[in-house]
C-alpha cells in the first residue's frame, strides 16, 4: 500500500462521515423544531399567569416574536444557529448562548469527571475479572456489576447524600459554588459524579470483561501463548488493545448520555447544569431555550460519534475501507 492511496482513503472516509453528520444535523433541527412547536401550551400565558388580560398576552407574544409564521421562525432560528446566535430566552430574557455557556461549565466537567471515574473503575475491574475467569475475584466483580447495572443512579445519589452530606457532613448536599475555587467546585461535583459513574462503570466493566474473553480465545492469542508468553503477558500485550473497540463505542455512548442524561442527578444535587436548564425551560415553555439546548446536545452527540468513528479507524485500519 503506497502512502497517497492511504491518504486518499482517510480523506474519503472522513468526508463520508462528515456528510452523514451534516444530514443528521439538518434532520435533527427539523424534528426538534417541529416536535417542540406542536407541544400544547402558550409561553406567554405561562409567564403571565391566569389573571393576565388578552391584550397583555398579545403584547408579550409580539415582543417574543410568537406572532410570526412557523416557517419564518424556523429559518430565523437556523440562520441564527449557523451564526452562533442562539436567540434570547423568553423567560430569563438573556441570550441563550450565555445560559448555555454558564451551564456547560457544570455539565461538561461533571460528564468528564464521571467518565474518568467510570473508566478508572471499569478497566481494572474488567481486566481483573477476565484474567481470573471463574475465580473468586471474577465472581465478586461480576456480582457487584450486576448490582451496579440494576440499581438506578438517583438511588445511589440519595444514599450518598444521606451518608456523606447528612451524617458525616463531608460534602454539602448539593449546589455548585462555581470555579473560583477549583477545589470547591470539584468537591461539589464529586458525589454527583460518583452516582453517575457507578452504573456506567458496571456496564463498562462487563463489556471490557466479555470483550477480553472473546479476544483471549482468538488464534493470535494462542499464537502468542505458543511463542512462550504467559496468559497475562498475552492479555496485556495483545488482547487489551484489540478489546478496546467495543469499549470505545460504549464510552462514546456513555459520554453523550452523561452530558444530556444528568437531569435527575442535577435535580437531586440542585446543580445549575444543562439538564436542569432544559427541565425548567420545558415546563416554562421557553421553547427557544429547549430547541437550542437540545440542538446543541444533538450536535455534541453526533460529534462524539464522529470522533468515535475516527478513533475506530485509528485503532483498526481495516474499518477505513468500510465507509
Amino acid at each position: 500500500m503506497t502512502e497517497p492511496v492511504r491518504f486518499f482513503e482517510v480523506i474519503r472516509y472522513t468526508l463520508g462521515r462528515l456528510s452523514s453528520l451534516i444530514i443528521s444535523l439538518v434532520i435533527a433541527s427539523l424534528v426538534i423544531f417541529s416536535v417542540i412547536e406542536v407541544i400544547p401550551g402558550d409561553p406567554a400565558s405561562f409567564m403571565l399567569g391566569i389573571n393576565a388580560r388578552e391584550d397583555t398576552l398579545a403584547a408579550l407574544r409580539s415582543e417574543m416574536g410568537l406572532d410570526q409564521p412557523l416557517a419564518v421562525r424556523y429559518f430565523d432560528w437556523v440562520i441564527g444557529l449557523l451564526q452562533g446566535d442562539f436567540g434570547n430566552s423568553w423567560t430569563y430574557k438573556t441570550p441563550v448562548s450565555e445560559l448555555i455557556s454558564d451551564r456547560i461549565w457544570v455539565s461538561l466537567p461533571l460528564a468528564i469527571y464521571a467518565l474518568i471515574l467510570s473508566t478508572l473503575i471499569a478497566f481494572p475491574a474488567g481486566i481483573l475479572a477476565a484474567s481470573r475467569r471463574g475465580g473468586a475475584s471474577d465472581v465478586t466483580i461480576m456480582g457487584a456489576t450486576q448490582m451496579g447495572v440494576a440499581i438506578p443512579n438517583f438511588w445511589f445519589a440519595m444514599i450518598m447524600v444521606l451518608i456523606f452530606a447528612i451524617h458525616l457532613r463531608w460534602f454539602s448536599a448539593g449546589g455548585f459554588p462555581g470555579w473560583n475555587s477549583p477545589l470547591q467546585g470539584l468537591k461539589s461535583l464529586t458525589l454527583p459524579a460518583i452516582s453517575l459513574a457507578l452504573p456506567q462503570a458496571a456496564i463498562l466493566a462487563r463489556i471490557m470483561r466479555s470483550s477480553l474473553l472473546d479476544m483471549l480465545s482468538e488464534d493470535f492469542i494462542r499464537t502468542a501463548r505458543a511463542k512462550g508468553l504467559t496468559r497475562s503477558q498475552a492479555l496485556w500485550r495483545h488482547a487489551v488493545r484489540n478489546a478496546l473497540i467495543p469499549v470505545i463505542t460504549i464510552i462514546g455512548l456513555q459520554f453523550s448520555f452523561l452530558l444530556a442524561g444528568g437531569i435527575i442527578i442535577e435535580q437531586i444535587f440542585f446543580l445549575p447544569g444543562l439538564g436542569r436548564l432544559i427541565f425548567q425551560a420545558i415546563s416554562a415553555r421557553d421553547l427557544i431555550v429547549v430547541e437550542s439546548v437540545v440542538m446543541l446536545l444533538v450536535f455534541t452527540v453526533i460529534m462524539v460519534n464522529f470522533a468515535v468513528d475516527l478513533a475506530y479507524a485509528a485503532v483498526d485500519p481495516r474499518l477505513r475501507s468500510k465507509v
Binding site: 400544547p40 400565558s45 399567569g49 391566569i50 393576565a52 415582543e63 457544570v106 447528612i166 448536599a173 449546589g175
Partner: protein
Amino acid sequence: MRNLVFTVTATAVALLGGIASAQTDITVAIQLEPPNLDPTGGAAQAIDSVLYSNVFEGLTRFEGDGAVVPGLAKSWDISSDGTVYTFNLNSGVMFHDGTSMDAEDVKFSLDRARSEDSTNAQKGLFSGITDVSVVNSRTVKVTLDQPNGSFLFNMAWGDAVIVAPESIENIASNPIGTGAFTFSDWVQGDRLELVRNDSYWGTAAVLESATFRFISDPTAAFAAVMAEDVDVFVGFPAPENLPQFEADARFQVLVGNTEGETILSTNNKMPPFDNLLVRKAVAHAIDRQAIIDGAMFGYGTPIGTHFAPHNPDYVDLLGNSSYDPAKAKALLVEAGFPDGFSTTLKLPPPSYARRGGEIIASQLRQVGINAEISNLEWSQWIEEVFKAKDFGLSIVSHTEPMDIGIYANPEYYFQYDNPVFQALMIELNATADPVGRSALLAKAQKIISEDYVNGYLFELAVATVAKAGVRGLWVNQPTAAVDLTVVSWAD
C-alpha cells in the same frame, strides 16, 4: 516572646468574639427560581418571593399578618367621593443606583403598568386608574373612574412596586429598587445574592447579606436542610418530613396560612355540572379532612367558601357541604342520575392536586361518579382547562389574595354566571366603609357557597423550616414574599 503571647491572646479573643457575635448572613431556599427579576412583568411568584419588600417597595405594603401599611407613601388623603387618592411620599428615598425616588417615578410606574403595551400580569389592579398627576416632588394624585375600596390593598401587590425610568431597561436582570437590600449577583440556576442597603431611607436591615437558593426536589430539599446547607427553607415541599424537623432541636418549623383557596374547580356550563343538585351532591361526597390528612399530611384548614379563614371577614360555611355520601347519592337521584355519571378530573402538577385528586376520585366513586384523572403540566392546564374550558373537574389553589371577585366574571374558567353576584361585586368595589364591606363580603361568600359553584376544599398551608436561631420570619404568606428586612439571628 511577649509579643507572641500577645498575638495569640489577641487572635483567640478575636476568634471568640467572632463566634459570640451573631451571624450576619443568611441562606434561604425556595422551591422555584425566578425566571427574571422584574416583578412588574411576569406572574411567577418566585420573583416576589425574592424581591418583594427586600429590593422593591410600593406605595403601600403587606405585613406578615396581611395588614396593609404605608410603604413609600407615608400617608394619603382620599377625596370624599372616594375617587381621588393623594399620596404623600416619604422624603430622602433613593433608588439603589443613587437616583432619588419622587412623584415622577410613581407616575412613571403606574402609567407604565396600565399602558397599552404593558406586560404586567396583574394589569387589572390598575384598570380603574384614569389619571396620575404629579402635584410636587413629594405628592402624587391618582384619580379613579369610580370608588374602589381595595385600591390601597391593590397598591401593596408586588406587581405595583415603584420602579425608575433610569433603570427600567435592564430591570429583568439588574433590579433597581428602593428597598433595604440591593441586588448583588445572580448565578442562574444556582443562587441569587442580596446585600444590605446602607443608605436605606427606613430602618436598616439587621442582616448584612442574604443568599437565595432554588431547590425544587423534595428529597433534595430535605437533604439541604438536614446538612445545614441552607438556614431557612420557605415553602418546604415535603410535609411528610416536618415531624422529623420538629423533633430536632437544631430546627424550628413554622406552619402558617396562605391566600390559597384550594378548590375542586367545576365547569358550571358543562352538563351535568350545570345542575345545582349535581354540584351539591359533589360537595357532600367530599371528605375534606381525609384530603387534608392524605394529601397534605394534616396541614391545611377546611373551607366552605372561596375565602381565607384567617381573614376577619370570613364566614364559616362548612356546614353547607358537610361530608354525607348518603345525601350525595340522594341528591344525584333527585338530579336524575341514579347510576351516577362519568366526567374528567384534570390535575396540574402541584402535590395538593395530584395527591388530592386520587383521594377525591375515590370519594366520588363511592357515590357513583366516575372521575377520569389526567395529569397535566401547567402550560397544558392553562390551555385546556383555563382557556379552552375543556374539563369537568380540576383542582387548583387560587393563591391571589382577596380574589372572590373572579366569581363575577362569567368568562372565568369555571363559568359561573350569576347577575346577583355580579351586582354585589360592583357594589363592593364602590364601598369604602369597612362595616359595609364586611356585610357585602359575607353575603358574597354565602351566595357562592349555597350555589356550590366549586367544591371548596381547604386553605393551603405553608411550611417554613429554619435553624432554631433565626428570628423575624413571616409565618404566613399573605403574598408571595420572603421579607428579610426584620430577620435576625438570636445571640
